[in-house]
Amino acid sequence: MEVAQQEPITDTAKQKSVEVSGSVALLEALIAEGVDTIFGYPGGAIMPIYDALYDYSDKLNHILVRHEQGGTHAGQGYARTSGKVGVVFATSGPGATNLVTGLADAQIDSTPLVCITGQVFAHLLGTDAFQETDVINITTPVTKWNYQITDANEIPEVLAKAFYIARSGRPGPVLIDITKNAQIQKFNFTGYTPCHHIRSYRPKPIVRQQYIQEAAELINSAKKPFILFGQGVILGSAEQEFKAFVEKSGIPAAWTVLGAGAIPTNHPLNVGMLGMHGNYGPNVLTNECDVLIAIGMRFDDRVTGRLDKYAKQAKVVHLDIDPAEIDKNVKTTVPVWGDCKETLPLLTQLMVQNDHSAWLQKFRDYEQKEIEAVINQELNPGTGEMTMGEVINQLNLLTGGEAVIVTDVGQHQMVACRYAQLNKTRSNVTSGGLGTMGFALPAAIGAKFGAQDRTVVAVIGDGGFQMTLQELGTIMQTGVDVKIMILNNRFLGMVRQWQELFNERRYSFVDIQSPDFVQLAKGYGIAGKTITDRDDLQGALKEMLDHKGSFLLEVMVTKENNVFPMVPQGCSVSEIRLK
């Protein structure tokens, strides 16, 4: 550690070797990988790493979270806004098991994370030692890769692999479990070499010109082509390539929840959101298009509804980096394997400049129906209690669509995704695949650290907020500037909606009480306000956004509002209901 303080090892140690502890080698590896922020929580089995970290606080900003789950979600938020790998530290046993929800969330939403867990001494493995859990086996189903280090000599190479695996190909979470002896052990550190190749791992399939050609022919000859895009566009940093493809081909494009923002909300060819609570046109017209072009999305069941009635009339072109996604849910006509950053320009080149305005108009016609039946009432109810939609709408007006919107899970999430204006990519942070309540507050903290120059607004329900509200302590201690907006309908709204629609209003345990959120925030030194009147909305939102530092705004919204449109479970996308 003394060595580390004097000079950065990675700069000088390429040739000569330095004797350091495993812990120091780990921190040097993080620095070499460009890590600047760590979300973590110390404990017995990771103490040597934290001891080493004491000397690295000028290079590595460690954020002390209040629960390891919060650490993973913060890491996810950081990764989503920054495009970098989120790094999380936790101790063995309960520290490590608390990571599981976040790992599962990151796995299903392809978020790059490297989690480091402490582990008991190697000689104690398997003895039910204090705070010992079999972390490798517990986390195997929810990690892209995991590995247990028992010897400090392994640390540089394994860390290099961990970062390479987490960020390459289809990104995902990696967990490295390090026994305490390996953290303490001194070894000859000869410097850090980043990993660029693992012989058994092919992060992206090689692009096949033949399939590009076939896809282009299919798309060029299509009368009613329709693009579905997902987070793959953002993860591949292919927003420009995607925009060029959409604009040249003139094809209407709809997004999955995680694809939101890959092109701006107000782009003329952006026709809205797919899926269960998506827009009317994109759902109905999925079953009318002749060629479906899926880009970086995985045909989740919340997007497809009933599969055997999903786009049966259409030929399907699927662009994906992960071969296991092709044909998994929807049979593909032409599989365009590969990184869409590479495949999209090749495809664009072969596109005939086209204009599908008549077809696009059909989307706009459906949109008009949706505006009249749903959106007008949601965004401008005029009288009565406030709706979630009008809060988001007001927020749009004040931020101009420039803010990062972090959402939790439930009705407010669907409303925020439907109505939030997103001008930029990496502006939508939400738990899509796993649907993790409690995600938003810690994720917003991470999102702010990942995009310090942007306004971060966490939109959270009264239920989800109570799952991870201890992270207010993290906000207090770090002074991070996060705008917290609780849309309080005094219900676990989404479940209540289902109970209303499908269980004859048998409201079984969805009536949730909340503490005084503003008092709670005050206890953490965070300013806050509750509003119930529409007249106060704009002013309160402005106050929140203008406030220096974090602010909690609780908006009391109507109790029994439902999110529409809705594709009921087990129904086809064309059976979408407007009420």
């Binding site: 490798i136 086996n137 195997t140 189903p141 892209k144 890769w145 995991n146 590995y147 247990q148 695996i165 190749h197 693992i198 012989r199 058994s200 791992y201 092919r202 399939p205 090689i206 096949r208 033949q210 399939y211 076939e214 030929k315 399907v316 992960d322 071969p323 296991a324 092709i326 044909d327 998994k328 049979k331 593909t332 006509t333 032409v334 599989p335 394997w337």
Partner: protein, 216 residues
């Protein structure tokens, strides 16, 4: 490329047709790095879908440090293809193939422990053993161990035969299978050993087909 690779070759078993829906035995061959924990990483891909593994053999391949799994399950081809792709996605998995029983030569080995005095006294038992292709591995005063190699029915048959004569213990190995229509993976495995593998290895082999692989 030979057409051994059903992951890539839909001509032999087109998706969603023929065998797409009907369940039958499939032999999944997995080439992997020798890595602790990989067995459970592969196993959970089956357990996640509540699929029982009928037989599992894992042992070193002809190349040092590379292991070969032989996994037998009874499922539809559609599901087997999806499973195979999810297995191949694992970081330490080099390659996955799957084949029907018709496409492989397969064997299981079985050991039978029987009291030696019974064998020695009854000539009929010796004849039965010979008829069933059994071979003595160990002969002791108290017991004799026989082995047979064959398909499940064959090794089963000998259990029935020996049961009345005081069968003491029986054990059967998992299935090992050699792929009939294959140039072998040997040459490709050797390429994996090199740091920079040749085109054929880094190539996406799903697509290494002249004919249109995917159809509605």
């Amino acid at each position: 490329m030979s057409n051994l690779d059903k992951l890539e070759d839909k001509k032999a078993l087109p998706a969603g047709e023929d065998l797409g829906g009907a369940k039958q035995e499939f032999n999944i061959t997995v080439y992997t790095e020798n890595q602790i924990g990989l067995l459970s990483r592969i196993a959970i891909i089956f357990t996640r879908r509540k699929i029982n593994i009928d037989s599992l053999n894992t042992s070193p391949s002809e190349i040092e440090s590379i292991h070969r799994f032989n996994i037998v399950i009874t499922e539809s081809e559609d599901v087997v293809r999806k499973l195979s792709r999810q297995i191949e996605k694992q970081i330490e998995v080099l390659k996955v193939y799957y084949h029907t029983n018709e496409d492989v030569i397969w064997q299981e080995m079985a050991l039978y422990k029987v009291p030696t005095d019974v064998i020695a006294e009854k000539a009929s038992v010796e004849r039965l053993l010979r008829e069933n292709g059994a071979r003595a591995v160990v002969i002791r005063k108290d017991y004799t161990v026989f082995e047979t190699i064959g398909h499940r029915e064959e090794t089963d048959a000998l259990i029935k035969v020996l049961q009345p004569y005081g069968l003491i213990e029986f054990v059967r190995s998992a299935r090992v299978a050699i792929i009939k229509n294959s140039d072998g993976f040997n040459s490709k495995l050797r390429e994996f050993e090199r740091l920079e593998p040749g085109e054929d290895v880094i190539e996406n082999e799903y697509l290494n087909k002249g004919q249109k692989v995917f159809s509605m």
